[in-house]
Amino acid sequence: MAFTLYSLIQAAILCVNAVAVLHEERFLSKIGWGVDQTVGGFGDEPGVKVQLMNLVRSVRTVMRVPLIAVNAVCIVLLLLFG
């Protein structure tokens, strides 16, 4: 129960790392979550699955490069301060 803000930040970094390592063609397409499978469903009501796929794809696109820096900082902090 003793959460601190730092542990929340660590948990967030781990979750974003987990989303970023999902490979597009090796994994997501195999389980039906690839980008080419988002096209179905015209009209203004994309379902939950399509929204989730879009979210995964946008997190991967946006956070790939900043994650390098954030992970490096996190590793250095962990090495220095445990």
């Binding site: 129960m1 601190t4 542990s7 009501e45 929204q51 979210l55």
Partner: protein, 308 residues
């Protein structure tokens, strides 16, 4: 918006007499002043101040010539313009990250509103009209509409919860000052996680709503009132009282959240109570129910370790 401008202007006018009183007190007591009076206008009793001026100033210069020197005037003018430029830049950039003007809306409350809202949080069963009234597209300030969300009650409730938690831990002989900080950051982290989870689920269900992040923060902060009532009852009257009052407040918050969120998340027809078919409406209903059900869970989770 007009109301808030005049009200805050009124409050500023009330503050100024206090400030004038303070400065007149400082000027009046010449012998024992708290701050150095470096204004150039106080030229008469300069000799009385020379004991209290900083060293380099008193070294050979009479107190006046420093401040009437044109170079130092120029330096002062340049310094003050630099400071105001810096402050403008900070304000502009700060406004981009934390919308200060929008935050002011959430603190525009008065005593009557707070009283009514607290009553509503504990007993929402008699209230009939849950709609937020608008004034030309902008929602009315919380002062004028008891249904509008505000941040005053959640903020005060959070601080009171931390203090009451410290008190409760003290009765168990477990108190130390660091524990207050731990409780505060714990509760804050749970609050942030809850708001993020609600935002994520609102995104996934593609609800077109005008609920902002700060609104969600306000709604999530309303449960602190129930938690405080439960813990105080438990401290005063023992464990059965804690469970009873917590149960009452949990049910009250559940009903409050459902009735408030129903108007914001569900479509028009469903909000009026008519049965509407369709997977999307069902999803929205489940979303509303789960947001409302998460409140009692958090209320119990954050307080059960305080009453042993």
């Amino acid at each position: 918006m007009d109301y808030t401008a005049t009200q805050s202007g009124f409050r500023q006018r009330k503050l100024q007499p206090n400030m004038r009183l303070r400065t007149s007190l400082v000027d009046g007591s010449e012998g024992s002043q708290l701050f150095e009076d470096t204004s150039g206008a106080a030229s008469g009793p300069q000799t009385g101040y020379s004991n209290q001026q900083a060293g380099p100033q008193a070294a050979g210069f009479p107190g006046q010539s420093i401040l009437s020197d044109p170079m130092s005037n120029l330096a002062m003018a340049y310094g003050s313009s630099l400071a105001s430029q810096g402050r403008e830049m900070v304000d502009k950039n700060l406004d981009r990250f934390i919308p200060i003007s929008k935050l002011k809306y959430y603190f525009a409350v008065d005593t009557v509103y707070v009283g009514k809202k607290l009553g509503l949080l504990v007993f929402p069963y008699m209230h009939e009209n849950w709609e937020v009234s608008y004034q030309q597209d902008t929602p009315v300030a919380p002062r004028f509409d008891v249904n509008a969300p505000d941040l005053y009650i959640p903020a005060m409730g959070f601080i009171t919860y931390i203090l009451v938690a410290g008190l409760a831990l003290g009765t168990q002989n477990k108190f130390s000052p660091e524990l207050l900080g731990v409780q505060a950051s714990s509760a804050f982290v749970w609050l942030i996680m809850e708001v993020l989870a609600v935002l994520l689920s609102l995104y996934l269900v593609t609800v077109n709503t005008d609920l902002t992040t700060i609104d969600l923060l306000a709604f999530s902060g309303y449960k602190y009132v129930g938690m405080i009532v439960g813990v105080v009852a438990g401290l005063l009257f023992g464990r059965p009282a804690y469970y009873l009052s917590l149960l009452w407040c949990c049910v009250a918050i559940f009903v409050f959240m459902i009735r408030t969120l129903r108007l914001k998340l569900l479509s028009e027809a469903a909000a009026e109570g008519r049965l509407v078919r369709g997977a999307k409406n069902q999803l929205r209903m489940y979303l509303t129910m789960s947001i409302a059900a998460a409140q009692p869970i958090f209320m119990y989770w954050l307080t059960y370790h305080l009453i042993r």
